[in-house]
Symmetry: C2
Subunit: 355 residues, 2 copies
């Protein structure tokens, strides 16, 4: 007898060779029968399938990948899953990939771009067919790794016209959108509770957009009116307290996302500061909670799920797996709710002028 007889007797998982022997064919035929049934006689294919079933054969993707140079695996390197926007976009991305037979690695770097580079290397090493990153800003090393490995990749949650492989929207525009709105309402004193900007070019761009809109309206935004806090309710609370201590008091506080806004709103409630009457508060993201919080939160709607789906499509397209063309620039929408209003002073002024 040759080397290993039917090794399943040893309790080891069945290999293609076991299946082939069981079906009385060569392993190459078994291979074809399983993954390319068209190139094999129907009867043979059926017999092989039956043997595979009988032996509980599960293909050894690692070995297959070594020859095909495809793992049917994508890597998503994200800041964190502990924030709804990345959780939701990663979820929708995975859903689309799953439909295409791809599996997704997910790894978080907690906004540390050096860790990100390490993770990208770890994914390349594991043979992923493509990689999704968040944002435009990455270490030089990250890009080098990607290039050297000729790795298809897509940058998400941000968009810029051109041939950059990205799927998202213009974050600066999002900042302008909401700041403009407040300016038009008549606000002149602003505070900003930014999330962490380091390692987060989207947040930085949003802040830049806010600055730009205010500058155009000749409204100053001193650095002391911009506080950076972690994206948490606590962060929003802190930020609010600090900004409310400034003179002149801001009549509008822009928060880096809805969580921060909720924290700010909660702190305002605790201090019996009426929102929006005394101060307007805004968020970003438009998470489901923004609509049901009391007061409901004015925010910018980000198409979280669409980011993920289109990132998946972009990658699958690059891999030649789909002809579907990704929507690369996704729509942004200002959602006006109850947490914003004209500043009081303005009302008084109007009242005066009317009197």
């Amino acid at each position: 007898m040759a080397k290993s007889p039917v090794r399943r007797s040893a309790g080891l998982p069945a290999t293609l060779l076991d299946v082939a022997r069981h079906a009385g064919v060569d392993k190459s035929t078994a291979s074809r029968a399983l993954s390319n049934p068209g190139r094999v006689a129907d009867k043979t294919a059926a017999r092989v399938r039956k043997s595979a079933g009988a032996l509980g054969y599960v293909s050894h993707g690692v070995a297959r990948a070594l020859t095909t140079r495809r793992t049917r695996t994508i890597g998503a390197v994200i800041p964190t899953l502990d924030n709804a926007i990345y959780a939701v976009s990663t979820h929708s991305m995975e859903g689309r990939l799953q439909r295409a037979g791809y599996m997704l690695f997910v790894a978080s770097h907690e906004f540390d771009l050096d860790v990100e580079a390490t993770l990208v290397e770890a994914m390349i090493s594991r043979g992923v067919d493509g990689i999704a990153l968040v944002g435009f800003e990455h270490r030089k090393k990250t890009f080098e790794l990607l290039e050297r490995a000729r790795m298809p990749y897509v940058l998400t949650w941000n968009y810029r016209p051109g041939k950059l492989p990205c799927v998202g929207f213009d974050n600066r525009e999002a900042g302008i959108l909401i700041a403009d709105y407040l300016v038009r309402l008549g606000h002149r004193n602003f505070g900003v509770i930014a999330g962490e900007i380091r390692g987060n070019d989207r947040a930085a761009a949003r802040l830049a957009g806010i600055r730009e809109a205010l500058a155009r309206a000749r409204i100053p935004l001193p650095d002391t009116s911009v506080v950076q806090r972690p994206y948490s309710i606590e962060g929003g609370r802190d930020g609010f307290s600090i900004l409310l201590g400034k003179q002149p008091k801001p009549t509008a506080i822009l928060c880096g996302n809805d969580i921060l806004a909720i924290g700010a709103l909660h702190e305002a409630r605790g201090r019996h500061i009426p929102v929006p009457d005394e101060v307007s508060i805004t968020g970003f993201d438009d998470t489901p909670f923004a609509a049901v919080f009391e007061p409901s939160i004015t925010t910018v709607h980000f198409p979280m799920a669409e980011v993920g789906v289109n990132a998946a499509i972009h990658l699958l397209n690059l891999l030649g797996v789909t002809d579907e063309v990704p929507e690369r620039q996704l729509p942004l929408r200002l959602v006006v709710r109850d947490s914003t209003l004209q500043p009081r002073r303005l009302e008084r002024t109007s009242a005066h002028s009317l009197a």
Copy 2:
């Protein structure tokens, strides 16, 4: 010249052979130098490392996995990432695995256990070293796949004494905890907005716990007082509307999670039904929002992050990567907040009896 000279010239990623040639050693030496430096002369090791750096060598994990039969990869098959509890536990799990040099596959089955089985097979096929599943209930096929592959696995978000490889808590107890609390407050008419029970044994166990607690107190819970809705704000709103239409009106509504509770609370606010005065509402999970919602929500605290971390430890332990011993049974805690109160009728009754 042998077969391929320095193939990097072809633009292909460097292989170990390229590194070896560049360093003037055999590839087996290069291999040792890179992954087992102790078994190689320091000078040689240094030279190999330098060559690897110069060529931008990234190890081909797929090929390595074929020989070592280890991919340093874990699979997490979860219901969805679109729910904070799974997002957070998956996040913490990934964090712990990352520290140990493991990478995580994440795949969602949207509460469909047949899909789950497919995903488990896909992961086994990709050679994961271990798998984390959510809950105890799985298709027979899922367990067969796991056994046949001799795959280390852990069941999360649930706990039962014994040697079952699980990390979580007793969901039935969670249900009892909160139902008992409401019973002690004096409630006698209950409504339940359960999340989807199918394919979710945790939710089913929670509901069973609620039923058990009520039965012990001889309080009926007709099937019409239990509605199943998707875990969403909308679901909570719907459920609330339906239950409020019943006679007798429930004085307490238990929701399957905080999201449903928020939906119910929002609907109550829309209908000007005061909570907790007219109806008490509870959740499960204790997500950060439960504390800041108005009214703040009475709920059961689930240690989401701990579930993930300990699942990771459990798996790493099974793989012999760590000696750390996982906490398998995690603590549960009733968190009483402002969305619950004694039922009004009881107040009146007491008033009467006092008069």
